[in-house]
Symmetry: none
Subunit: 258 residues, 2 copies
């Protein structure tokens, strides 16, 4: 991995501070609190509330679970135009079908586009009312729409959950961009891999025990040893693990053939 | 996109019904309700509750927002072993750093792996306690861990939000799999994966032999069993391989303790 966690954190901070979450005409303050929490866990901080039905209250603060700084710095405006006037890219969340087709992104494409634009300009992602989303007029103010895929039989996605998913994709877009394939197990390993010779030594020792116990007939070994080689090779044993396995075999050998 | 919505819906239904969400020792019933809603919006239905601190209540039902069928069919068990015994692949959600590194996936990789396996076998994704996640012992029962990237300064992701993100990635994995990656080992496997129960049976048998031979001091086991679990989990043993390993252990047991 070329970028350190710290570098990734700084990079995401820079870019994600340019992505604004705009909640339009929200009914429940609790959802605003959950949205603040969802944003902050992913590193976003710019929240704008367009004409919320109720002000931020105790329930909102409780649901924000410590992301109160996001609630405190949230800007409240009365029209959508004010919320997005300084933004170069505006994307509206939408159910799939519209009377007039509009450029439609999935959440991953939305995040890639937003992160690209955020390098130079502010980006807004709009979230509509809990019960009926954004109006056609509001959606027409967007360059593109984003649709979160859902179960066609039950598409009742909570608004804070929708914000969580899109903010997650924004963070993923930054963490995965230009990041080389991670190590084979997705994590930096703390021990060197066992050498081919060490592996052979283990397999030979195991085989001799299997013959001693009568499990393996040397005259008719079939594919047993091949299967075992394949199994242990697949897990890419490290040196400590092979030492443990050899230790176990030695303790068995001493018991079987003292 | 070449697949029609109907085809996608049917495909996702088939595969996602094989992916189980396991919530371990959950404190707040409201979170179970939100989890049910998150699951259902993405097309999942199999919820297992391991020893929840409180039963499903009014708050859970309110938060499920109509996904009451998921709550009604949720199975409650008292141990993690019961929750995963029929699963071929078990993935645990985890914060990044562990004393012993374990195969680590991001949510996208987790979803790809889970969807591939779900074509033939059940998959479980484990979610821990609200305040401290899964224990090391629970994480050691997993073939891999999944980490949702978060803001290093504020990683307080709500449990239902975590479930939402992973379920969203599962749905995305199905909707985007036009040309799926090959199976995990780059080849179509000829045998089913061993179940969690079969793996446990093998590890227990191995441990008892290690104690008999004196290799393992039950009073001071350190990390030996955890390392062995990790090793065998990494190779995703199939049923034939586990049978061979059990056969070897039985032949050793008969020799040691005739």
């Amino acid at each position: 991995m070329s970028k350190s966690d710290t570098e990734i954190a700084e990079l995401s901070f820079d870019l994600l501070s340019n992505v604004r979450v705009v909640m339009v005409n929200t009914t429940l303050p609790g959802n605003i609190g959950s949205a603040a929490r969802a944003m902050k866990t992913m590193g976003l901080s710019d929240l704008v509330l367009v004409d919320p039905k109720k002000p931020i209250d105790e329930e909102a603060i409780a649901r924000s679970s410590g992301a109160t700084d996001i609630l405190e710095s949230a800007v409240q405006v009365s029209t959508l135009e004010e919320a997005i006037e300084d933004c170069g890219l505006v994307i509206g969340t939408s159910a799939r079908s519209r009377s007039i087709p509009w450029p439609l992104l999935n959440p991953r494409q939305c995040a890639e586009r937003a992160v690209l634009t955020s390098k130079r300009q502010k980006v807004a992602i709009l979230f509509g009312r809990e019960d009926r989303g954004l109006t056609n007029e509001e959606l027409a103010k967007c360059q593109a729409h984003v649709h979160i895929p859902t179960n066609p039989d039950y598409s009742s996605l909570n608004i804070a959950s929708a914000i969580q998913v899109l903010c997650y994709e924004l963070r993923m877009a930054i963490e995965t961009q230009a990041q080389p394939e991670s190590e084979f197990w997705g994590v930096e390993w703390d021990k060197d891999l066992a050498s081919a010779q060490e592996l052979d030594g283990f397999i030979d020792h195991l085989e001799s025990i299997m013959v001693t116990t009568g499990f393996l007939d040397p005259e008719n070994p079939r594919y047993v040893m091949t299967r075992l080689r394949r199994l242990f090779n697949r897990s890419l044993p490290d040196k400590v693990e092979i030492n443990v396995l050899r230790g176990i075999l030695s303790s068995i050998s001493r018991k079987i053939d003292p």
